[in-house]
C-alpha cells in the first residue's frame, strides 16, 4: 500500500492542515485591518488537498503552485515565519520582500513558487519532470492548478507534453467551483476537469477534496505510479474555498449559505478529527495540543513579521541576474 498512515503521519497531517487553516484565518483577520499590502488569496477550506498530496513528497520533488499558494507552501515545508514576513513585505521574508503572497517560493525545498499567472505552472512542471527523467531520478513534479487554469492553453499543452514525454508529473486540478467570480459550471465545458485526461492519454481521477484520506490515497497511487515511470495523472480534487477569490471579495456570487453549509457538513479538519478520534487512532488531547502549538506559531510569526525590517532601497536593484 502506497503509504501507511502511522500515528506520527496522522499527527503530521493534522498539524499541516491546522497550520494552513490558522495561517489563512489570521491573514484574513489581519488583512481586514489594512496592514497587509497587495493581493492575498487564501487557501482555507482546501487544506486536505495540499496536505494529502505533499505528504508523499520529499524536498527533491517539485511542486508548482497557484496564486492561492500558501497551503501548498506550508505543506511542502516552507518556513511559516518566512512566509508571514514575506506577505507583510519584510526583508526577512522567504523572498526578501520581493515576491509577496503570490510568489512565495523555495527551490531548495522543491517549491517552484506560487504563481500570479493562471496556468503558468503547467509547462514549468513538465520541465522539472523532464529534468528528473533525464537525470534518472525517481522524483515527481506536481502542478497544482484551479478550475480557472484548467481552461488555459498552457495546461493543455502541459498535459499533452507530459504524456508525449511520459513524465513523472501529476496535475492536480483543485476545483473549488469558482474561477474568480465565475462558476466552473459555466466555464468548464465538460464540468469534470478529470474527463479531459482521457483526451491526453492519461488517467483522470476525481477525489473528494474535503477528505484527507481520499486525497492522500489517490495521490499516493498516482505519485507511486509516476515514480516508477508509469507516467502522468490528472487528479481532480473537488473542494471549496471558504474565503473570497482575494481578500476583500464579498463573494456575492455564491449562494447565501453555501460556505456555511460546506463548513458544517464537510470541513476537512473537523471530519479528519472525528474520524481519527472515532477510530481510536488519535485522542482529542493530542489534537488539542497541536492546536495550541500552531496557534502559538502563527502568533509568533505575525509578531515577528510586524517588527521585522522592510527591505532597504538598495535591495531594489539586486537579484535581477546572477551576473550582469
Amino acid at each position: 500500500m502506497a503509504s501507511e498512515l502511522t500515528k506520527d503521519r496522522l499527527l503530521q497531517a493534522y498539524r499541516t492542515m491546522r497550520t494552513i487553516r490558522d495561517f489563512e484565518d489570521r491573514l484574513h483577520a489581519d488583512f481586514a485591518t489594512g496592514e497587509i499590502p497587495g493581493f492575498v488569496h487564501l487557501y482555507a477550506g482546501e487544506e486536505a488537498s495540499a496536505t494529502g498530496i505533499c505528504m508523499h513528497l520529499g524536498k527533491d520533488d517539485y511542486i508548482a503552485s497557484t496564486h492561492r499558494g500558501h497551503g501548498h507552501c506550508i505543506a511542502k515545508g516552507v518556513d511559516v515565519m518566512g512566509m508571514m514576513a514575506e506577505i507583510w513585505g519584510k526583508k526577512t521574508g522567504t523572498c526578501r520582500g520581493k515576491g509577496g503572497s503570490m510568489h512565495i517560493a523555495d527551490l531548495s525545498l522543491g517549491m517552484m513558487g506560487a504563481n500570479g499567472i493562471v496556468g503558468g505552472g503547467g509547462p514549468l512542471i513538465c520541465g522539472a519532470a523532464l529534468a528528473m527523467k533525464l537525470r534518472k531520478l525517481d522524483d515527481v513534479a506536481i502542478c497544482f492548478f484551479g478550475d480557472g487554469a484548467s481552461n488555459q492553453g498552457t495546461i493543455f499543452e502541459a498535459l499533452n507534453l507530459a504524456t508525449v514525454w511520459n513524465l513523472p508529473a501529476i496535475f492536480v486540478a483543485e476545483n473549488n467551483g469558482y474561477a474568480e467570480a465565475t462558476s466552473s459550471k459555466y466555464s468548464v465545458a465538460c464540468d469534470n476537469i478529470a474527463d479531459r485526461a482521457s483526451a491526453f492519454g492519461m488517467p483522470g481521477v476525481i477525489v473528494d477534496g474535503f477528505d484527507f484520506f481520499a486525497v492522500h490515497e489517490a495521490a499516493g497511487e498516482a505519485i507511486e505510479r509516476a515514480r516508477k515511470g508509469g507516467g502522468p495523472t490528472l487528479l481532480e480534487v473537488k473542494l471549496s474555498r471558504y474565503y473570497g477569490h482575494f481578500e476583500g471579495d464579498q463573494q456575492k456570487y455564491r449562494a447565501p449559505n453555501e460556505v456555511a453549509h460546506i463548513k458544517e457538513a464537510k470541513d476537512c479538519l473537523t471530519t479528519f478529527a472525528k474520524r481519527v478520534t472515532g477510530a481510536g487512532q488519535l485522542t482529542q488531547a493530542e489534537l488539542s495540543a497541536i492546536d495550541a502549538e500552531v496557534a502559538a506559531l502563527i502568533e509568533e510569526s505575525v509578531r515577528r513579521a510586524k517588527s521585522d525590517p522592510k527591505p532597504a532601497a538598495a535591495d531594489l536593484m539586486t537579484d535581477v541576474y546572477v551576473s550582469y
Binding site: Y62, A64, G93, T94, C95, R96, G97, K98, G99, H103, A105, D106, L107, S108, M112, G113, N115, G116, I117, G120, G122, P123, L124, I125, C126, G127, A128, A129, L130, A131, M132, L134, R135, A141, G153, T154, E157, A158, N160, L161, V164, W165, T318, D319, V320, Y321, V322, S323, Y324
Partner: protein
C-alpha cells in the same frame, strides 16, 4: 589563419562542444532532429534549417523534439533549468514568441527577483529573426527590443560566425535566461572560428571598424551593411567607427558613449521597426548622456513602421540598405548649424 566555417556551423559546433562538456546541456525544440515517431529517418531535419543536424546521433536522448506547443516546451525548458539541466530550447522563429511570451517574461525572467535571489534559471532560448527570406510578416521580425525591455532576460544577437559560437557557449554557461537571436540571413556567412571552445562575454560591444569622424551603432545583420557603408565612406575621407552592440541586454553603454564623445556624430542602424526600438533606445541614451559632444542630430536607419512585407519588391525596400546607411552618414557629416 583559423579555419573558416559558417554561422550555422558555428552554432552547431558550440552546441556539440557544450553538450560534450556538460551532460546537463540538452537541446529541445520543434524538429530539432525531426522524424520523431515517424517510420522514416531520425534526424531527418536537424532543425528547420539544419542548424542542429547531427547532434541527435552524437548525444542520444539529449536532443528532444517537441510538439508544436511553444508555451509548453519553452516553459518546460525553463522548468528544467530550475532543476539541474541547462536546456537550449529553440523557438523556431522569434515571431512565435506571441504564443509563449508568458513563460519567458513572467516566469523565467522574474524567478530570481521574485524569489529573493534564490533561483537560477540557466536556460537559453535560441531563436531565428530578421527579414530577407521573403518570409513575410509572421516570420521576419526582429523583436529583440521586446525582450530587451524585460529585466531578468539577457538578449544577444551575434553578427559573425566567431561571435555566434563564443556567445552561444557563453549563453549556455550563463546562469541567467538568455535569448539568443540568430539572423536567418547570416546562417551561410563564413568566417574564421577557432576549433577550440571559447566564450565571448556579454555586455561588450565589438568595435568592428575604428574611425574618428562619426559613430555608427548597429547590431545583428546590419553590422555587415554598416561596415560596407563605412568602407565606402572611407573613399570620401570619412572615417566611420562601426560598433556592433552584440548584446542589447546587458548593453555596453560605455563603448557607445566613449565613441560618440570622440566623434560627436551618431547614426544608429537597426533592422527593426522604429518605435520603441533599439535605435530609439541608443539615440535616447546618447542624447541624454553625451549631449554635449553631439555636433549634429542623431540619425536612425530602420525599417519603416510597417510589418515585414512578402513581395521582394517591397521587402527589399523594407530592409535598410547600404545606401540608406551611407545617406544617413552623409547627412550627419554635412550637417551645419
Amino acid at each position: 589563419m583559423a579555419r573558416k566555417i559558417t554561422y550555422q556551423q558555428a552554432i552547431n559546433e558550440a552546441l556539440a562542444q557544450e553538450m560534450a562538456r556538460d551532460s546537463s546541456v540538452i537541446v529541445m525544440g520543434e524538429d530539432n532532429h525531426g522524424g520523431e515517431g515517424s517510420p522514416g529517418e531520425q534526424d531527418a531535419w536537424g532543425g528547420v534549417l539544419g542548424v542542429t543536424k547531427g547532434l541527435y546521433h552524437k548525444f542520444p536522448g539529449r536532443v528532444i523534439d517537441t510538439p508544436i506547443s511553444e508555451s509548453g516546451f519553452i516553459g518546460a525548458a525553463i522548468g528544467a533549468a530550475t532543476n539541474g539541466l541547462r536546456p537550449v530550447a529553440e523557438l523556431m522563429f522569434v515571431d512565435f514568441m506571441g504564443v509563449c511570451f508568458d513563460q519567458i517574461f513572467n516566469q523565467a525572467a522574474k524567478f530570481r527577483y521574485m524569489f529573493g535571489g534564490k533561483a537560477e534559471t540557466p536556460v537559453v532560448i535560441r531563436t531565428m529573426y530578421g527579414a530577407g527570406f521573403r518570409a513575410a510578416a509572421q516570420h521576419s521580425q526582429c523583436l529583440y527590443s521586446l525582450f530587451t525591455h524585460i529585466p531578468g532576460l539577457k538578449v544577444v544577437m551575434p553578427a559573425t560566425p566567431y561571435d555566434a559560437k563564443g556567445m552561444l557557449i557563453q549563453a549556455i554557461r550563463d546562469n541567467d535566461p538568455v535569448i539568443f537571436m540568430e539572423h536567418k540571413m547570416l546562417y551561410t556567412l563564413e568566417g574564421e572560428v577557432p576549433e577550440e571552445s571559447y566564450t565571448v562575454p556579454f555586455g561588450e560591444a565589438n568595435v568592428v571598424r575604428e574611425g574618428d569622424d562619426i559613430t555608427v551603432v548597429t547590431l545583428g545583420r546590419m553590422v555587415h551593411l554598416a561596415d560596407q557603408a563605412a568602407q565606402a565612406m572611407q573613399k570620401n575621407g570619412v572615417h566611420v567607427e562601426v560598433i556592433d552592440l552584440r548584446t542589447t541586454s546587458p548593453l555596453d553603454e560605455a563603448t557607445v558613449l566613449e565613441s560618440v564623445e570622440r566623434t560627436g556624430r551618431l547614426v544608429v542602424v537597426d533592422e527593426s521597426n522604429p518605435r520603441c526600438s533599439m535605435a530609439s533606445d541608443i539615440a535616447g541614451l546618447v542624447a541624454q548622456k553625451a549631449f554635449g559632444a553631439l555636433k549634429a542630430p542623431i540619425e536612425q536607419v530602420t525599417a519603416p513602421h510597417v510589418p515585414p512585407p512578402f513581395s521582394d519588391a517591397l521587402e527589399d525596400i523594407y530592409i535598410p540598405t547600404v545606401a540608406d546607411i551611407q545617406g544617413a552618414i552623409g547627412r550627419v557629416m554635412e550637417f551645419r548649424r
